[in-house]
């Protein structure tokens, strides 16, 4: 019998407890530290990441062409979740800037929006994971009509649809 197996027999309980403390302790430290990190994984994101939470979501995808038609009717608020630097360079006209990290840390400004309005959320890329997370949270925050621009801002630019830039409130 090897020395380690001998010791395991005598010390298994003690080692097991310490391994558990290390595991749970590091999970707790990691969880807390991420709340304070500038670009940490916020607890709301972690909660939304738990298995089963995606079933509660009710967003819809909208194609770029359909989004442009709605844009022309001006009956919708576009929400840009890219970081502010990118938003300032260019964005869909009259879009609301809601950077991914800011929303999970402080969403008060967005909560002042009309909850019955229709929102189309977009990120830079097509099928962005971040935009799906924001959509889930927006729906959890009692906004009823939430859409995701499936093609992202990239496809909007590809179609040469209008953009504006250069200012930010």
């Amino acid at each position: 019998m090897s020395p380690s197996s001998l010791i395991f027999k005598n010390n298994t309980w003690k080692i097991g407890v310490r391994l558990t403390i290390m595991s749970l302790g590091s999970l707790l430290i990691g969880f807390l530290a991420n709340q304070f990190l500038n670009r940490g994984i916020h607890w709301k994101i972690l909660l939304l990441s738990l298995p089963g939470t995606s079933e509660q979501t009710k967003w819809h995808y909208v194609s770029t062409d359909s989004a442009f038609s709605i844009f022309l009717q001006q009956e919708v608020l576009f929400v840009d979740i890219r970081n502010r630097e990118d938003f300032e360079i260019d964005h869909i006209p009259n879009a609301f800037s809601l950077p991914f990290f800011s929303y999970f840390n402080n969403s008060e400004q967005f909560h002042q929006q009309n909850r019955d309005a229709t929102f189309i959320l977009y990120d830079l890329e097509r099928n962005s994971k971040d935009v799906r997370l924001v959509a889930r949270q927006v729906i959890k925050d009692k906004f009823s009509s939430v859409y995701i621009l499936r093609g992202g801002f990239v496809e909007w630019l590809d179609r040469t649809y209008p953009v504006e830039g250069g200012h930010f409130e």
């Binding site: 020395p3 310490r18 391994l19 290390m22 990190l37 994984i41 972690l46």
Partner: protein, 142 residues
Amino acid sequence: MNRAWQKWLIIVLRLGFGSLLIFASIDKIQHPHTFAELVENYRVLGEGLSRWVAVWIPYLEALTGLLLILFIWKEATVVMNCLLMLIFLILVSQAYVRGLDIRCGCFFVEGESTIGLLKILENLLYAGLAFLLVELTMRGVK
């Protein structure tokens, strides 16, 4: 191997693994979202659980590394170190076998090489040394 050699080997291995784990954790702690994507790329856990792992594993590495260097909880830390090395070896190996063209994310979350045979051998070496450390530590305790 005489006891003096064993003692020195334990010290070297503990300090070596401790430094390695702390070094490996720093970039992951600074970029948790990017690390979560790397974890997801291994296609073992889903998108959601990958985020939990990204919150947990870097801190477990850092804590284990710190305890190894400080010689605290000698047996438990070497066992945890061995478990971590085994998990990394299994993850890297399964990715290679499945032909996943992904970055390792072992030390840096960006700009690191893709997984290949060399990376598996590297992880195999770490796992072997970690197991040796467990054996030596348990002998020392006895």
